[in-house]
């Protein structure tokens, strides 16, 4: 299927507009996403910074409190008891709890020099056990600030922010370790920026694998801290396991542990979150936990969806606008072209008066102007040609007329001159000459009259009187008319090829018969030495035309002769007026039909007549 120029133009403009709109929407969405990411990254960094800053401040606060505990009278009593030769520290087993309460410490342990717990506030029952982590600590350079530590508690291991101080009395050294658990309560003290959710994962101790109970999270509402299962947003903590392992690997390889991943908690992408990680390490750079900052994707996805919807709406509107615009533009562009096409078609059909409006001065306007110039020149040339042909026809007419008239005029002149000279002869001779001369004069005058009459007939072609005519029957009647002449020439025969289904047509039977007779006469003249005169009829159903062919097997015509055959007064015969075929053509034309000739030398000639079958003609 070939698209019209206008359709292609509309499609091209529409496509261009649509692509432009889609591109703009994509650019807007990309920029929006990028802006979101930048904004989230900034807020995440702020939260991490806030966490670290709070962590540091809390660590300093804890360190100050531990310092105060170390300098307390209670600790001095314990140290003095420990400095005895056979120390009994059992009376101090419950000393840590009141000290911790007094100094607002969640965790407090008083340790002997070898790390044995003298008293523990967080786990009183653990007295007498040894804190092994103290052995790996550099006693000469104890951490001044708070640091992260994995703390053993009755409910399991817990991440804690602790500080340590040393109390030395004589040769006895005691250690005071205390701090705060990094639990949901600690998390609650952070006012996370709206929409951000910090999640803490605590790595279990040696030999412990991933545990979904090691999470602490705060839901988006800043006042509700929840642990693990209670948190509605952390229903599938195992989805964070790969990220936790990745942070662990990064830490082992001393690479950057700040990672960003997207986690889809459910099948609904809106429930997804962008997770940023930050490793939490202890005093000896051991990995203790991971701080996750989760940013919900809901708003971003919804905004992106909104932008996409707006883009689609704008795109649709743009496409609609593009269609309308392209239709308007294409109409503006193609209308002159269409007018040109129509005008060209008119010209093709012979209507050279077609004119195209010159509405613009662009290329199309110039084309229209050129077209108009062309038709104008064609008309001028046609007029000129007609004029030329008319002159030529008049010349031909004059030549023919002169030629026709000159033949009888010369005997008339001779006869008149003979008659003048016969006056000088005797009456009898004169009478004889006179009789002969008058007879000649009458004969020649009759000839002249006959010539003039034929010219007169040609000029007075009657208007056709249409009636229902059976063409096959008409051809039989004409053949019947010349039956005697055909019979005289034994070498001449008639052939028939008539279409049975040929309908009657509306025609003037008299004129049509004269035209057929004319063709038959020409054929018989062409076959003086014999041949086959063939009558054919046919029906062209598609074009609703009846076809008549009269063919001979005579000497045939040259192409040049065929071209000029229907020109009035042109003849190939020695005694022809050249009006016969012109009259035939005139009759056929008066019936709305056409006549053509096909011929070749020594191959005979065929006249081909097509007559229209009008609506009221019956078609069997």
């Amino acid at each position: 299927m070939t698209l019209s120029f206008r359709a292609r133009l509309i499609a091209m403009i529409t496509f261009t507009v649509a692509i432009t709109v889609v591109l703009v929407a994509w650019l807007v969405e990309s920029n929006l996403r990028r802006s979101f990411e930048l904004s989230n990254a900034a807020r995440t960094n702020a939260l991490v910074e806030q966490f670290n800053s709070g962590f540091q401040q809390r660590g300093e606060q804890i360190a100050q409190r531990i310092e105060t505990v170390a300098n307390s009278e209670s600790m001095l009593r314990i140290a003095l008891a420990a400095a005895q030769s056979q120390p009994d520290l059992s009376p101090f087993v419950n000393e840590a709890q009141p000290l911790a309460a007094d100094h607002q410490l969640e965790l407090l342990e008083i340790l002997a020099q070898d790390g044995t717990i003298i008293s523990s506030a967080q786990w009183p029952a653990r007295f007498g056990y040894r804190e092994t982590w103290l052995a790996v600590l550099n006693k000469d350079d104890l951490p001044k600030k708070g640091f992260l530590k994995r703390e053993s508690l009755p409910e399991g291991e817990q991440l804690a922010l602790v500080a340590i101080r040393q109390l030395k009395v004589r040769n006895v050294i005691l250690y005071i370790v205390g701090g705060q658990k990094l639990d949901e309560k600690y998390f609650q003290s952070f006012q996370a920026p709206l929409g951000l959710r910090p999640i803490l994962y605590r790595y279990p101790g040696i030999g412990g694998g991933f545990s979904p109970t090691n999470f602490i999270s705060i839901s988006a509402a800043p006042d509700s801290a929840t642990v693990n299962k209670a948190s509605p947003e952390l229903q599938s903590p195992e989805k964070l396991e790969p990220l936790i392992e990745e942070v662990q690997k990064q830490h082992v390889l001393s690479r950057d542990t700040k990672l960003t991943r997207t986690i889809e908690w459910t099948n609904n992408p809106e429930d997804g979150e962008t997770i940023h990680t930050d490793a939490l390490v202890g005093n000896n750079n051991e990995l203790l936990g991971v701080l996750f900052v989760a940013t919900p994707m809901r708003e971003q996805i919804r905004l992106a969806g909104h932008v996409r919807n707006v883009a689609i709406a704008v795109g649709m509107a743009g496409i609609l606008f593009g269609v309308l615009l392209s239709m308007w533009m294409s109409r503006r562009i193609t209308r002159p072209l269409e007018e040109l096409a129509v005008a060209a078609t008119q010209v093709a059909h012979g209507d050279w008066s077609a004119h195209v409006a010159e509405t613009s001065s662009d290329e199309v306007g110039q084309l229209a102007a050129a077209f108009n110039r062309m038709t104008h020149e064609l008309i001028a040339q046609r007029e000129q040609l007609i004029q030329t042909e008319r002159v030529a026809a008049w010349r031909e007419l004059a030549r023919r007329l002169a030629h026709e008239l000159k033949n009888p005029l010369f005997p008339l002149q001779i006869t008149v001159e003979n008659l003048l000279r016969a006056r000088e002869l005797g009456p009898e001779q004169f009478d004889e000459v006179f009789r002969e001369s008058t007879a000649t004069l009458l004969a020649e005058l009759s000839n002249l009259k006959n010539i003039v009459g034929r010219f007169s007939d040609f000029s007075k072609m009657p208007t056709p009187q249409f009636q229902n005519v059976d063409l096959n029957n008409l051809l039989h009647e004409v053949a019947q008319l010349y039956q005697a002449q055909i019979a005289r020439n034994s070498a001449l025969s008639v052939g028939w090829s008539l279409a049975e289904e040929l309908p009657n047509i509306n025609a003037d039977p008299v004129l049509l018969r004269r035209a057929i007779e004319n063709l038959v006469l020409n054929a018989m003249d062409a076959m003086a030495d014999g041949g086959i005169l063939t009558f054919r009829t046919a029906l062209n159903r598609e074009e609703h035309r009846a076809i008549i062919e009269v063919a001979d097997t005579g000497a045939g015509l040259t192409p040049e002769e065929c071209e000029r055959l229907f020109t009035p007064y042109y003849t190939t015969k020695q005694f022809g007026t050249g009006l016969g075929l012109a009259i035939v053509q005139s009759v056929v034309a008066d019936h709305g039909g056409t006549i053509t000739v096909s011929s070749a030398k020594s191959a005979g000639t065929t006249f081909h007549i097509e007559l229209p079958i009008r609506a009221k003609d019956s078609v069997s």
Partner: protein, 499 residues
């Protein structure tokens, strides 16, 4: 005229001297107000098998038994005036004391006694005669008189309303479950009416209420926990800054804190046991081997308690030191790993949430047991007893078991029955006739690891100075028949009862 003032002075002086002398002599009357940490929800619980110290004391006050045991562990007559046995000490005949009556005035008969004993010990053949009861066993019971002095052999009778009646020195006047018990003296008590008219026992009061009552002089006797006792001056590490030393009754440590297992252990994932036939004792034994009793008694309880490698205290048996008390974590780990390989072992472990000592001991035990890679999930249960602990879902519980008797065999027999140790072991204890056989019976009782002793603790009572003639039985508790209150007078006309 001059003699009259002198006579007046002489009479006044003699009356004053008489009054002063009367203030220091026992006399009838008064209400003894007692604060108890324990609670009793039903008198029937007291009779069936006393679970707590208070229940045991109430049993002593409300009910009599055939015999009674003195502080030396020797049986004396109570409802039985005398007894004799055959040569093999298999058949015993107890002569019933005449004049003993239940609180409704009905006489205590041999049939009543026989019915009560038969209900508690169906393995014995009990025969009631006119004035005697015969107990016949399959094997010798050398210490049957001491056994029959245990609270569970209390002689009771049901009245028309099916309420329990006893023949003890006191009877129940008012009973409000878990709140208050009011006892009144039994005027017709066969051993003589007690000095006290009434005993008001308030149950389950908070430490704060107890402290206020003590300060306001509203209590006469208050049961103290060890940390309370320490706070008021008891123990070697008394707080020098606290109140002046108070009057306290502190017997030798006799009550036992022990881990009692309720069902087969351990709780492990299916298919992970090394040997299904060994899921029994090895975990229990591993737990027993991890417990550091010395730290608990010396540090946690500040030397106010004795480490208990055995069920009965050293002062009672003399052979407790023969039991191993040192923890052996390596052996414990080995036993644990043999039993369940690498599977996690986590056992629900209950203690009495109202008992701070129990909580501290339970937490320490849980810490000790971790050394064998066994987790005890500690949780507190309100008024936890052996009976109630079985309903908490715990597989093991820390229970305080009062020492029921100053008699070694009787005390061991009582502990075995309470802990639900099998009849074979109980039978061995019944037939114990010497310290060696008692030792063997106790070893047998511990070998099942159904009960793991931890520490022996004393019962500590604060006493108002007006409480007089307070004596503490060797096995702890009260002996209120002889107590009288200074400055009190009988609420009704004095009853002439000679003691």
């Amino acid at each position: 005229m001059k003699l009259q003032p002198l006579l007046s002075i002489a009479v006044s002086l003699s009356l004053g001297a008489t009054a002063a002398l009367a203030g220091t002599r026992p006399h009838y009357g008064g209400t003894l107000r007692v604060q108890s940490r324990d609670s009793v929800t039903s008198i029937e619980n007291v009779w069936v098998l006393p679970q707590t110290v208070l229940q045991q004391q109430l049993s002593e006050l409300l009910f009599d038994r055939l015999t009674a045991v003195d502080d030396a562990g020797v049986a004396h007559g109570s409802l039985a005036s005398s007894w004799r046995s055959d040569q093999q000490q298999r058949v015993w005949e107890f002569e019933i004391r005449s004049g003993a009556t239940f609180s409704d005035g009905s006489a205590v008969t041999a049939q009543d006694i026989a019915a009560c004993i038969a209900k508690v010990a169906p393995q014995w053949k009990i025969t009631a005669n006119a004035q005697s009861v015969t107990v016949e066993a399959d094997s010798a019971i050398p210490h049957l008189p001491e056994l029959l002095a245990l609270p569970e052999f209390s002689i009771i009778k049901l009245d028309a309303e099916k309420k329990v009646m006893g023949s003890g020195a006191f009877r129940v006047d008012v009973f409000q479950a878990a709140r208050r018990i009011s006892l009144v003296a039994n005027d017709d008590y066969w051993a003589g009416r007690p000095y006290l008219d009434k005993i008001e026992i308030t149950m389950g009061g908070s430490v704060r209420e107890q402290l206020i009552n003590r300060r306001l002089d509203q209590d006469d006797v208050a049961e103290l926990t060890l940390d309370q006792a320490r706070a008021v001056g008891y123990g070697t590490q008394a707080n020098p800054g606290s109140l002046p030393p108070q009057r306290m009754a502190v017997p030798r440590p006799g009550d036992l804190y022990a881990l009692v297992f309720f069902r087969d252990l351990p709780s492990v994932a299916p298919g992970t046991r090394a040997n299904t036939s060994a899921d029994d004792g090895r975990i229990d034994q591993a737990i027993a081997l991890t417990i550091d009793r010395a730290s608990i008694s010396r540090v946690l309880l500040q030397k106010q308690a004795d480490a208990a490698p055995a069920l009965l205290p050293q002062w009672l048996t003399g052979y407790e030191f023969l039991f191993e008390s040192q923890p052996d974590p390596d052996q414990a780990r080995k036993l644990r790993n043999d039993a369940v390989r690498a599977a996690a072992v986590s056992i629900p472990f209950a203690y009495d949430s109202g008992d701070n000592i129990a909580r501290a001991i339970a937490e320490r035990v849980a810490v000790n047991v971790r050394e064998a890679n066994i987790t005890l999930q500690t949780f507190g249960g309100k008024n936890l007893t052996l009976d109630s602990a079985t309903n908490t879902g715990a597989q093991v519980a820390l229970i305080r078991l009062p020492l029921a008797s100053p008699s070694t065999v009787a005390a061991l027999f009582d502990l075995e029955r309470r802990a639900g140790i099998g009849p074979a072991v109980t039978a061995q204890t019944e037939s114990a006739s010497s310290p060696e056989s008692s030792l063997a019976a106790e070893r047998a009782a511990l070998s099942s690891f159904h009960i793991i002793p931890v520490v022996h603790v004393p019962q500590v009572y604060w006493l108002n100075p007006r409480v007089r003639d307070w004596t503490t039985p060797a096995n702890g508790g009260w002996r209120l028949q002889d107590v009288w209150l200074e400055g009190e007078r009988p609420s009704s006309s004095p009853v002439a009862v000679l003691r």
